[in-house]
Symmetry: C2
């Protein structure tokens, strides 16, 4: 007894059927009589046969596996994206390997190496914040495997990017505040070297401009996305006295700011109306009536995976960027009804 490592040859010998027929039967080829197929399957089960994908993949030069690189799986937005990816991949017969870069380029590089040497059929990647050069992606493309960027778009050898229209979402959020009577709207922004936060700021400014509100640079906070930053910003706002609206372009600091404001008995949205992103469920726990921007996370995972699979199946496919829209979820009643 081969201690639980039966191969197609073991089945072949036991049944006096050639191993190629066994292989065909195991792959449910129509070119095997159902009688022998049955015999083979029975024997396989009896011997505890388990296909060796390594050998199979080596031979066919296909792994039916896609690699997913994500900055951090614990972030609510990304874990939803992953759900969408997994669902779509499994539905299409692909397996998924999830890897965390933890926003570290060196890790990202190692992961890409590893995925390549394991010959995954394609990669879905959300580039780490540190990443500025795309050198480590080139070997992958050279091997002919497609790459699709999600959430953080990249201009790289014509690869597809799936992203969210941040400008539009920000514009709508700010517009919502304005149409509810806010005149002095503060913006909690993120690092401006990152396109995403830049676009969000642009959307905010565009809305102010459209409605003829004064653009005040003091109202544009820029922070490092930390909790502490949130408290600092909240204190600043209270000092300013006249602030009546906040458009928060990042969760973490927004949450701590919200918490601080509430602890100072500021009424939301009567005193200060807030719109932020709802990637992090915490914000809606603190203030259930908060108006939020709902990003298409799950949908993003689906779209990106479909695009990738299309390209795996047809390498010559022309690619174009995919842009998804966010949705404004208005939960609170208006601040000022005209």
């Amino acid at each position: 007894m081969n201690s639980g490592k039966a191969t197609i040859h073991d089945i072949s010998k036991a049944l006096n059927i050639d191993s190629s027929t066994v292989s065909r039967a195991l792959n449910n080829s129509p070119r095997v009589s159902s009688k022998t197929k049955a015999k083979i399957l029975t024997k396989a089960a009896e011997l505890g046969y388990q296909r060796n994908s390594l050998a199979s993949n080596l031979r066919t030069n296909k792994t039916n596996t896609i690699g997913v690189i994500v900055p951090r799986i614990s972030r609510s937005f990304f874990s939803s994206v992953i759900s969408g990816i997994e669902e779509t991949a499994y539905k299409n017969g692909y397996n998924v390997i999830i890897c965390q870069s933890l926003e570290d380029v060196n890790r990202e590089k190692k992961i890409m190496d590893n995925l390549l040497s394991n010959r995954v059929d394609g990669v879905l990647i959300s580039i780490s914040m540190q990443t500025s050069s795309y050198e480590h992606l080139k070997p992958f493309r050279n091997h002919g495997a497609p790459i699709v960027f999600y959430d953080r778009p990249c201009n790289f050898e014509g690869c597809t990017s799936v992203s969210i229209d941040d400008f539009e979402a920000s514009f709508k959020a700010t517009e919502h505040l304005i149409s509810n009577g806010c005149k002095n709207i503060v913006h909690f922004g993120g690092p401006q070297n990152i396109a995403l936060y830049k676009n969000r700021k642009k959307g905010y400014l565009a809305a102010l401009e459209k409605y003829g509100l004064e653009i005040n640079e003091i109202f544009c906070f820029e922070n490092e996305l930390s909790e502490n930053d949130g408290v600092i910003m909240a204190k600043e706002i209270l000092k300013m006295k006249n602030v009546d609206g906040i458009y928060a372009a990042n969760d973490t600091s927004a949450i701590s700011a919200l918490q601080y404001l509430k602890s100072k008995d500021v009424k939301i949205p009567e005193d200060i109306a807030i719109v932020g992103f709802n990637n992090d469920p915490i914000s809606s726990v603190i203030e259930p009536s908060l108006t939020t921007i709902n990003q298409p996370d799950f949908e993003m995972g689906r779209m990106a995976t479909n695009a990738l699979i299309d390209q795996i199946k047809d390498t010559s496919l022309s690619v174009r960027p995919i842009v998804l829209k966010s949705e404004l979820i208005v939960r609170s009643s208006s601040k000022v009804m005209p």
Copy 2:
């Protein structure tokens, strides 16, 4: 040009060196002169060579990969465990494949099949809540690959389980409430068919008994871990009037209960003291002074991975359960100082 799919044979031909020497050089074997080694490495880089792990793994019958099955990566506790797993695995030269069962046995079964056919060297698994039979794990063991259970222990063919001492944690939590003057302590429990929640209830009861407090079955809530349950329980508690302490054995409902109580102007911990688990960061956001039980998540990942790797390296290793202790984080001042 082979369009970016160089093999050791390509290097071999280009240099007039046998492929076996190339293979040795690429694996940094000491039996190759440093001169030829250098030549080979240079050529490899030049041709953009990338090892084919499928072939290599097939040949050596080792993948240096461990499979991780987790019920749901978005749960804070599990994503911390994964961090610990990844860190330990990478440090030891192992890759990690993360798979979500989503608490679904059928998915879990498929994942195990897939991991087996990909010949991972071992598996770390937290069994889905649905799982009652371990049949789907047997093929894996038959192939000689070790399995280590984490968080949700199992009696299966002498496999190692790494778990947390829930009884002790619950006992300490309840004891803490008692020593701070609570006389009427309610328990938010989970499904009693799950060992974890059973042990938590036992710890609660043991503490009451030790300190001579009356055991009241009405104080033992059992729920389905939903948010709605939390609100229902909170309302019940307010009706009871005399409740002055809560030991919550699950996050989700505890959070919504906490929120509801605060909305009714119940002072925490003055009116009602609460101890719960801090797996979910939300609870500490709602009430920063909350006393919580800190579970060793990261540490669990490390311990489980080390145990698995030991067993991969030495199959004959005897295994024993590993039990970790939780820590009580007292943030609020005492309810009643004697």
